[in-house]
Amino acid sequence: MRAGTKLLALCASALALTLPAAAVSQAAELRTNINADPAMVDPITYSELIAGDVMANVYEGFVGLDTEGNVIPALAESWEPHEDGLGFRFKLRSGVKFHSGRSFGAKDVKYTFEQLLIPGNRGGLNAEYLDTVVGAQAVKDGKTTDLEGVTVVDELTLDVRFTKADVLFPIYPFYFMDAGIVEEHGADWATKASAGTGPFKFKAWNLGRDVQLEAFADYWGGAPKIDGVRFLIVPSGDTAVSMYEAGELDVVYVDTQTIRRVLKDPQFKDEMLTAPAAQIRYLGMNQNLYEPFKDIRVREAICIGFDRDAMVDGLYDGAAFPLYGQVTPGVAGYNPDLPAIPYDPERAKKLLAEAGYPNGEGLPPIKVTDTEPNKNDITYYANQFSSVLGMPVEVEIVERGSHIKRMNAGEVPFFPWGWSAGYPDALYFLSQVWYGPSTYNRSRWQNDAFDALIEEAQGTADAKARYALYNKAEKILLDDWGTCPTTVRMQVALVKPNVEGVSLTPFRFLPFGDAQVTE
């Protein structure tokens, strides 16, 4: 036993040596959670949400968002469309410094665009926004690295030309990077240096533990009032809320599985921020794959055959709203006057009977498909449609990657799915999910009048006129019961009373540049 005790003591001291010293907590550092490591921290390969949560604090584009979610100029002070409508001339902001100390200018924008397109770089989400730029295809094909359609006019003036009108180009969420960074730090600069102009500099990424940012004193918008931001990697939403309760996190983005705990606990009431997510959800019905979907009466019957309010309470713990269109609140072009879609089982049954399927008789069997995390949703749909409409619906749970591939290929007949906006304009939803030629038109609904309106909107610079076109197009989709809008998720975040200046928008948190932490 004595030897055992000695060994134990030895191990304990060895252990104390191997563990890093306790992190010194700084009062002026903002601590928040992300539920996984970012997949990358560079603005070129950037392609997922968590990386975006971090990078929005480090990098900036032509525009940013204000606390209301409106677009405001950031690195571009102003822009003028070309006379033919096929391009823009940007006046960039003067006096902007990169984290390296170098000045930001037109050459950096051109450099960023080219890096996104060069094939070996695996350009991520932001590369897609360059499709209409003249010469983009040549760079993508590896024929040249010079992007022909982008001209550096002078240090702070940039000219961009398009192959077809793209009025929203200025609001695309690019992350402009320092053109001198690779020369200074080499090709693997991303985890060693910071190449943005944002309020925070990238400091360190400890895999599985945290991503640390530090304040950038020379930020053009004014130095942040906190020393830095620490994103702690906390995969369990429950653990994150406990850490917040114990004071180990100042701000927590609550995941959907933990929302119930937070909404039910009165102590959180005054510390809660909410905002609808900029994500449409819909029930896709592919008319090419299931004959009865070709009948508008069947589609309407399905859309009024489930209870959105019951779903909000029963499936989402109250953290959602019914959705009656295909644009979400907080996204420009949202139509607040759309009529509610009722839950009307009687009318649904009548419609089915009129379509030749009284009590669902004669309807071929069909599966409603989704991934494992959404199994409750499809179970609800299947149960609802079979018990109320008599429709022979089965549940099918599939693996995500292959499901997305099949949906993109138009091979899934019946599925609930969603689409998160990349920028705050309704065109994102309408042109990507419901426009005929889009790959993301996963239920293959197609309408020529709708497509013509979307094309017209893409060339309509006047915002009001454009929104009117969106509303018209959206009405065509809804009147045709081309899909069933379902619900929109409500985001929930908790912020400690001693923290100010944190804003939750439909596009998650605003950068923490205005945040303040007091003792």
Partner: protein
């Protein structure tokens, strides 16, 4: 002894190779294509898909992929992670490499002595109320699921009394709750075994002799009886270590500890097969090395075992 150790070591290499083959084959049967997971919404982009497949060597025939994998193990990178852009598996796992073994070994170092003491205590008082109380306490300790126990401890010790951090890693305080959760099942196991072995040993003649010649009861128990329970107890340490390694999967997730257990779960969900395969291999290595040490230890402890093995 040295020959025996060398032979066992060679056997280990075989076991590891088998683990490599099994995980490689198993991954081929998991539903879902990692490249599709990586492409996500962009799965319609055939050019990008082809480029990614080539980057990860997934466009090559399976036997070639297997040889590639062996080569990556040999060069210590273990290949490229699917989840993290331009990052080797070694870089993904190196930060948390020792965390799961540290947790498991700390737990063993506490659980075994504690279990022995409790077991002896119970055996000495067999069938008394004290014996029943100890066994009942331990059994209820194992019966409460670890996640429920963890939630209770966090609520009490972190939120209510603020004496320990909720989660994380880096200070000795961070070790307390996870180790406590890990320690309970093996302690109960060891205590029950010790009690049974002790009761058996206490019936034997040499114990009666020791008592008859007037030795104090403490010497009878600790010098003569307990020693004879060590060999059977030692054999269970390997099994306990395995249980603890799998326990780290749950505990690391609950307490947000950046070790291989939590990483394994994340990698499985993210379809990051190279990382998952490497963790399986590392856990196999940890487990088999501990078992080898245990085997060597009891050949040292019990001369009879040593003799049989060298003859064979």
């Amino acid at each position: 002894m040295i020959e025996y150790a060398a032979r066992r070591l060679a056997g280990l290499l075989g076991v590891w190779f088998l683990a490599i083959v099994i995980t490689f084959v198993a991954v081929q049967f998991v539903p879902g294509d990692p490249i599709m997971a990586l492409l996500s919404d962009r799965s319609g982009d055939a050019d990008l898909e082809a480029r990614l497949r080539a980057d990860y060597g997934l466009d090559r025939p399976l036997p070639v992929q297997f040889l590639d994998y062996l080569a990556h193990i040999a060069d210590g990178t273990f290949g490229l992670s699917f989840r993290f852009a331009n990052t080797t598996v070694f870089d993904v796992i190196s930060g948390g490499l020792l965390i799961s073994p540290i947790l498991a070994i700390t737990a063993i170092l506490i659980a075994v002595p504690l279990g022995v003491v409790l077991g002896v205590f119970a055996a000495q008082r067999a069938n008394s109320w004290a014996d029943t109380a100890v066994i009942l306490g331990l059994v209820s300790g194992i019966s409460i699921p670890n996640f429920a126990m963890a939630a209770f401890l966090v609520y009490l010790l972190s939120i209510k009394w603020s004496v320990l951090p909720v989660a994380g890693w880096g200070t000795p305080q961070h070790l307390v709750m996870p180790v406590l959760i890990l320690v309970i099942p093996p302690t109960a196991y060891v205590a029950r075994l010790t009690r049974t072995y002790m009761l058996e040993v206490l019936q034997q003649d040499f114990v009666r002799t020791a008592r008859a010649k007037g030795l104090r009861e403490r010497l009878v128990i600790y010098r003569h009886a307990l020693k004879n329970t060590f060999v059977p107890l030692l054999t269970t340490v390997g099994i306990i270590f395995g249980g603890l390694l799998s326990g780290t999967f749950v505990v690391e997730t609950i307490f947000n500890i950046p070790g291989l257990g939590r990483l394994a779960i994340e990698s499985i969900f993210a379809r990051d097969y190279p990382v998952t395969m490497t963790i399986v291999l590392l856990f196999t290595m940890f487990y088999s090395i501990i078992n080898l040490i245990v085997d060597l230890a009891y050949t040292a402890l019990d001369p009879r075992i040593r003799l049989t093995n060298t003859k064979a």
